[in-house]
Amino acid sequence: MSNRPSKMHSCKVGEYFDATSGGPRTLIDLEHVFVELDGHPVLQDISFTLNDHMFLGVIGPNGAGKTTLLRVILGLVKPASGTVCVMGMQPAELKSELHHIGYVPQSVFFDPIFPVNVYDVVMMGRICCIGRFRFAKKADKQRVMDSIRMVGLQGLEKRLIGELSGGQQKRVFLARALCRETRILLLDEPTSGLDMPAQRQFMELLTDLKERLGLSIVFVSHDVNVLAQHADEMVCINRSMHLHGKPGEVVGSDRLQEAYRCEFDFLVGAGDHHTTEGGG
C-alpha cells in the first residue's frame, strides 16, 4: 500500500502508436493499479504489460481478483488509482476500439431454452462492428460463419446454444470473441468445468488461433498447469502481485506456493497440486 499513487494517470499514447521505437508494441499497460469494491481492497499495486502477439497467463487462487483484473482492462470496473492503458487509451475511451478486443467470460448464466442458436450467439460478437440502428450485412454474416468454422463448430450453426455440451459452448463464446477485428483476446477461466481432453483440445485450438490470427492473449486461470505449458509470460496475483516472469521462473518459485498457500507437485504433464491449508 505504501507506493499507492494518489490519482489516476493518463496513458502515454505514443507508446502504442509510435512505431519508431522498434520494440514490441504495448497493447495493455497496467501501472500500480489499486481497485476497491464496496470500500474493500480487491487489487493492490498490480503492474504488468501485454505486448503484441504475447500469451500472458494470469494465475492465482480463487478469490484472488483475477476476474476483477479483466473487468478493469475492459473498463467495467474503475480503479481507485494507478494507470490502465489499453491500446494507448484509458478503458473508458475505448468505445471506438472495442472491436479489437474479444472477451470470453468465465460463465454465462443463460436460460437453456433461450431461443438463440450458435449462429445468433456468434453474431452478437459483431455488435460493435455493425453499429447502432443498423442490421448485419453480408460481410458480417460471412465473418460469423468463418469464426464458427475456425473453432470447429461448422454444421452446428442452427443448434440451440442450450443443447450444446460445456466444451462446445466455450467454443461458441470463443467464436463470438473472435468474430470482430480481434487483436486482444481476454479469457476468464475458459477451461473451467471441462474434462482433461476437452481442456487440452481447447488449449491447442487457442494456441493455433493465436498464431494464425496474430492474437495477443490474456488468459486468466487458477490452474497453473494449464497455463505453464502455453503462456509466454505468467503473472501470479492474490490481491497483490506475487510473481511475474517466464512460466519456468514462476512455476519454480517458492512465492507461487505462498500465493496459493499450498504445495505444488510439478511432475511433467501431471500437475496435481496438494492443498495444505484448505483450498486456496
Binding site: P105, I113, D120, M124, C128, R176
Partner: protein, 297 residues
C-alpha cells in the same frame, strides 16, 4: 361488429395493443421479467387512484406512476442490493395499498374504477386510439431500434457491456417501455388481467419454436388472434371483452403446449396409437437394439 363505431375503435385499439404487447412479451419472457410486468401492472392501481382522487385523467397519472415504479425496480435491484423480485413485491403491494387508502379518503369507489380494474375496450374512443398509436410507435420503435442490443443484453449482460452495449439505457428503457405498454393495455383488459397480455404471447411462441425470429412471429400471431377472436366472442355472447381475450390467449397457449415440439405430447399420442395397432411389417428385422429391451411383466 365492425358495423358499429365502438366495434371499429375496439378492433383498431385492440390490434395496436396486441402487436405492442406481443413484441414486448418476447423480451419479458427471455429476460424473465414476468413478475416485474405483473408488479408494474398492479402498481398502476396506485397511479389510477391518484388520478381519480385528484380529478386528473387516470391514464396519465398511471403512466407517470408506472414509469416511476419501473425506475424504482431498476434502481433498487441494481444499486440497492435487493433482489429484483423482492423490490417488485414491496413496490407493488405498497402501490396497491396506497391506491386503496387514496380511494377511501376521496370516497371514489365507483363504476369508473371497475373499468380500470377489468378493462372496457368497447368504450374506447378515437382519441384513445390515437394515444394508443403514439404509445405503440414509441414502444415498438424502442424495441426495433435496439433489438440486437436487447437480445445481447438479455442473453449475456456482462459481455454485452464489455462490447459497448449501453446496458443501463437498455435496461431502464425496457422497464419504462414495459410500464408504458402496460398503461396503454389497461384500456383493453384492465389492471388485473394486463399481465396476461405481456406474458402469454411470448410464452406461447417459445412453446412452438426454438428460434427467436419464429418465436416473435408466433408471439405476434397469438396476440393478434386472441384480440380478433376474443372481441368477436365477447360481442357475440355479451361478455367482458378483456377477460374473453385473455381466455382465448390462454386457450392458444394450452394448444401450443400440446403441439409443442419441445414436449412432443401429440407425437407421443400418435406414436402410442400406432404402436397399439398390429404391426404391418411382419417379417422385417427388429429395430436395432429392440431385442435387448425386456418386455414389461
Amino acid at each position: 361488429m365492425l358495423s358499429f363505431g365502438f366495434g371499429q375503435t375496439a378492433l383498431v385499439g385492440g390490434l395496436l395493443i396486441a402487436i405492442t404487447c406481443s413484441l414486448m412479451s418476447f423480451f419479458i419472457i427471455v429476460r424473465r421479467l414476468a413478475f416485474a410486468g405483473m408488479g408494474i401492472s398492479h402498481a398502476a392501481f396506485g397511479g389510477v387512484s391518484i388520478g381519480i382522487a385528484a380529478g386528473v385523467n387516470p391514464i396519465v397519472t398511471a403512466g407517470a406512476f408506472c414509469v416511476l415504479v419501473a425506475g424504482g425496480i431498476g434502481w433498487f435491484s441494481r444499486k440497492g442490493k435487493l433482489h429484483e423480485d423482492t423490490i417488485i413485491g414491496i413496490l407493488f403491494s405498497a402501490s396497491m395499498a396506497m391506491g386503496v387508502v387514496l380511494l377511501a379518503v376521496a370516497k371514489a369507489y365507483n363504476q369508473d374504477l371497475l373499468s380500470y380494474l377489468f378493462g372496457s375496450i368497447l368504450a374506447v374512443s378515437w382519441t384513445d386510439v390515437v394515444i394508443l398509436a403514439v404509445m405503440a410507435i414509441l414502444a415498438i420503435g424502442f424495441m426495433v431500434l435496439f433489438f440486437k442490443e436487447l437480445l445481447f443484453f438479455s442473453f449475456d449482460e456482462e459481455t454485452a457491456m464489455a462490447s459497448g452495449v449501453p446496458v443501463k439505457f437498455v435496461y431502464y428503457g425496457l422497464l419504462v417501455t414495459i410500464a408504458l405498454t402496460i398503461v396503454v393495455s389497461i384500456k383493453l383488459v384492465g389492471i388485473i388481467l394486463v399481465s396476461a397480455l405481456i406474458v402469454i404471447p411470448g410464452a406461447t411462441g417459445l412453446q412452438l419454436s426454438r428460434n427467436y425470429r419464429s418465436v416473435l412471429v408466433y408471439s405476434m400471431a397469438t396476440g393478434i388472434l386472441s384480440v380478433l377472436i376474443g372481441l368477436q366472442l365477447s360481442f357475440s355472447f355479451n361478455v367482458a371483452s378483456g377477460a374473453t381475450v385473455v381466455l382465448v390467449m390462454f386457450a392458444l397457449f394450452v394448444i401450443a403446449v400440446a403441439v409443442s415440439p419441445r414436449r412432443s405430447y401429440m407425437q407421443r399420442v400418435f406414436r402410442g396409437k400406432a404402436a397399439a395397432e398390429p404391426a404391418p411389417q411382419e417379417g422385417l428385422p427388429p429395430a436395432p437394439g429392440s431385442a435387448e429391451i425386456p418386455a414389461d411383466d
